[in-house]
Symmetry: C2
Subunit: 467 residues, 2 copies
């Protein structure tokens, strides 16, 4: 009797192929060298006695949250934003280092708030700086797509984890093209924002409140479950999600007693904007990830966010510290005559979707997205599979039918990213580099690699100091 | 120099495997023997000089049609249906041979029309037969899901090919469970049908007509294009399609001047019934296939339909002749405590979707459907690939993203079915065997094999007589 031979092969295929040709069973392990200089910190964090349990708790906390739409109200009421205070996407940044699209959105926001008449006059206001202040959305329980500028009079969705009462917020989505979040601030942008403030916001407030009272709040996490079975990855495709929101709110909008022409116009506005639901998907993801914040020893990423200049991450085990590096240019498809030279580096809090396991992480369930962001269908399937290599687990609520209902890859693990060199894959819109331009395309992008070793170093330092 | 050896292997894998092991390039052809007794007719039809061109014309005619929703009105007006006239799904059948669910639907229909007070009393009416008549939907430019019973006072969608003015019709979808089309006829069924007649039908008429006048008629073929990118196969999954219809009609429903509570109730009714769009998908498919009727020499199937007793097909090259055999029992999943003994054989005109290349033929694009009809995700992908073996071409408008945007398999070819023995795959709902029960499940089914050799024989006979 011969003992069966079984070979485990890591790294290059040459050896595995040679053995397989001799009819020996081979298990291939996709091994890559760790990121340079991370070996010592990886060893420390791997040996951290808190790590395994902390990561299990962080993942479970994230997966345990369901987000419900409980209210719509102005940012001044909800977040205590005062005149002259502006929120923006990504990690902290000052006007001096702000990119074109962030500047454009701030200028439009200043005009919307009546701080200036002409958005161009706001440049002096922000350069002086004494009457205005900038703060990340994330620091006020909020997320903002692209520039992510929030001003006091903007109406916000309010999402709540009914089990804990925790809440997150996001503005209402304006649509595509020439819109504030892509840095445009022309008259059509301000006219639309004023209509959203005067008509859409108050109507949605009545509809959401009456829906809460009658059938209960809209289950945003549940809609996300459905969307992933309907070709949306909930970052650059939110078509089915938008339609389900419309279905859930339309009856209450009609019954609100509002003017029928305002209701009809609002239905057309939402129905005509496939991205409307993005501004619910994002705060739902933040609500889930916020539940995993502040868990000592956990190496799970709880936020990825970009301000158009810097890409930053926050990690469950490192408190409110941001680990930042330069935002990258996306590789993708351009609108009209725009090209790579017109694009600003990566911007927006929307990478919170990837942080929660959807968006680029769920591309396999949205193969049609390759027509928007580029790449091929096999790439889309491979991307989701690859993201499982850098995540702690799967989400049983959010599954991918074509991968036989496998849960989306959830809980980005700083140690796995450093150990494999595989970076999180993000789908994203591309803003014009110049303030005022608006959207120029959509594509695929990754974080700057160096932020993960930075986060790992902080985790290792905390681990050493606990000994 | 050695000439490279290349082997083409048809049939059993044994030979191909042996050759491949000797490092010879092998092209495997999935060959199966033709259906027994079809060899002579296959030879005649294959040699028919009209065939190739006729099939190209039939396929092009089908693929050239776009269906638009142009009106909603009662069957009495649209189809000239008189009191006592009933349409039903499938090929012609009399009361004596009608299955339980068809009888149940006819009994409910008779009560809806006021021919009897109690549906049970309609049995005598149909047994006597002198005051009532039965006719297939297909004979009046109509398709009906499941029992497919249409009575004069039911409101119908009207679909039009704007290029030719050709029209098809279908009733409004009632939802699932205890509904007339599944053979239920209890008070709740009749109450719902009366509300659809008094409230929903007239409201949809106003909304559709005003949409036609303002933004133009809803492009049903275009919605089908989108649905196939959103996890619907448009037979047993019509969720995205229903939502897009709601999006397109809701503004006009609101602006119709109708009572706000009726509008809100109608929005809830449509939004709460994921199958509402089925009754637009079906007549859109019929409109496309009707364009291919009456093309001498074409072996393309233009209708597959079941009345609960018989399964019938019609073919482009054989006029209005039906080729029928016994309807089969579906293999699938059952609701609640129901089991295989409770199910009626296959019923409904809804196999028009498969005839047009969607439904079971597009299962690859709707992998989540396996949770409703049974089977596995790999089965769903394999089914779409297999259906390409019995169809004339692909639909460039209706594509499957996960199969790298390949068009759905379109134009079932009687000769290919007979030559390969591969039967069309149909997704279907299952009605209870007893009149009055309603839906008991959903599953997968095929036509009875013998109807394809029957159609082939007729094609061969016509070919011989043309010589």
């Amino acid at each position: 009797m011969t003992t069966p031979t079984h070979v485990v092969s890591a790294g290059a295929d040459l050896f595995a192929d040679a053995v397989a040709e001799q009819a020996v069973a081979v298990t291939r392990v996709d091994w890559r060298p760790p990121m340079p200089g991370t070996e010592a910190d990886l060893a420390v964090v791997a040996a951290d006695p808190l790590r395994r349990d902390a990561n299990q708790r962080a993942l479970a906390a994230m997966l345990g949250v369901t987000a419900h739409l409980v209210d719509v109200a102005p940012a001044s009421e909800l977040l205590g934003l005062e005149p002259g205070q502006f929120l923006h996407a990504g990690p902290p940044i000052a006007w001096e280092r702000a990119s074109g699209p962030l500047r454009g959105a701030l200028m439009g926001g200043a005009a919307l708030e009546g701080l200036v008449e002409d958005p161009e006059d706001a440049v002096a206001l922000f350069e002086k700086g004494s009457d205005v202040s900038l703060e990340p959305c994330h620091h006020r329980g909020t997320v903002g797509p692209m520039a992510g500028v929030v001003t006091p009079s903007m109406w916000m969705f309010v999402l709540e984890d009914l089990a804990t009462g925790a809440r997150t917020h996001c503005s209402l989505n304006e649509g595509l093209g020439k819109v504030l979040r892509y840095g445009a601030y022309g008259p059509e942008v301000l006219t639309r924002l004023r209509w959203m403030r005067e008509v859409l916001g108050p109507l949605l407030q009545r509809a959401v409140r009456s829906t809460v009272d009658s059938t209960g709040p809209v289950d945003v996490t549940g809609i996300l479950t459905q969307m992933l079975q309907m070709g949306d990855e909930a970052h650059n495709r939110n078509r089915a999600g938008t339609l389900m929101l419309l279905r859930d709110l339309a009856p209450a909008m009609v019954a609100s007693g509002a003017d029928a022409s305002d209701v009809a116009e609002s239905l057309r506005f939402i129905g005509g904007n496939d991205h409307f639901f993005l501004n619910l998907a994002m705060p739902a993801c933040k609500l889930a990830l916020d539940a995993a914040r502040g868990i000592d020893g956990s190496t799970m990423v709880v936020a990825m966010a970009r301000n158009g200049t810097d890409f930053g991450i926050q990690v469950a085990g490192t408190g409110d510290e941001w680990f930042t590096g330069p935002a990258q240019l996306a590789d993708g498809l351009f609108l009209g005559d725009y090209g790579p030279d017109d694009a600003n580096p990566d911007i927006g809090d929307s990478a919170i979707t990837e942080t929660a396991g959807i968006g680029g992480f769920a591309m396999a369930t949205a193969p049609a997205i390759v027509r928007l962001v580029g790449g091929s269908v096999p790439d889309a399937l491979a991307t989701t599979r690859r993201m499982h290599e850098i995540t702690l687990g799967e989400n049983p609520r959010w599954t991918v039918p074509v991968l036989e209902f496998q849960g989306v890859p959830s809980g980005i693990d700083v140690t796995r990213v450093c150990r494999t060199g595989i970076l999180p894959q993000i789908n994203t819109g591309m803003a014009g580099r110049q303030a005022g331009v608006g959207q120029v395309g959509a594509g695929l992008v990754t974080p700057p690699a160096e932020i993960f070793p930075k986060a790992l170093a902080s985790l290792a330092e905390r681990s050493r100091s606990r000994r």
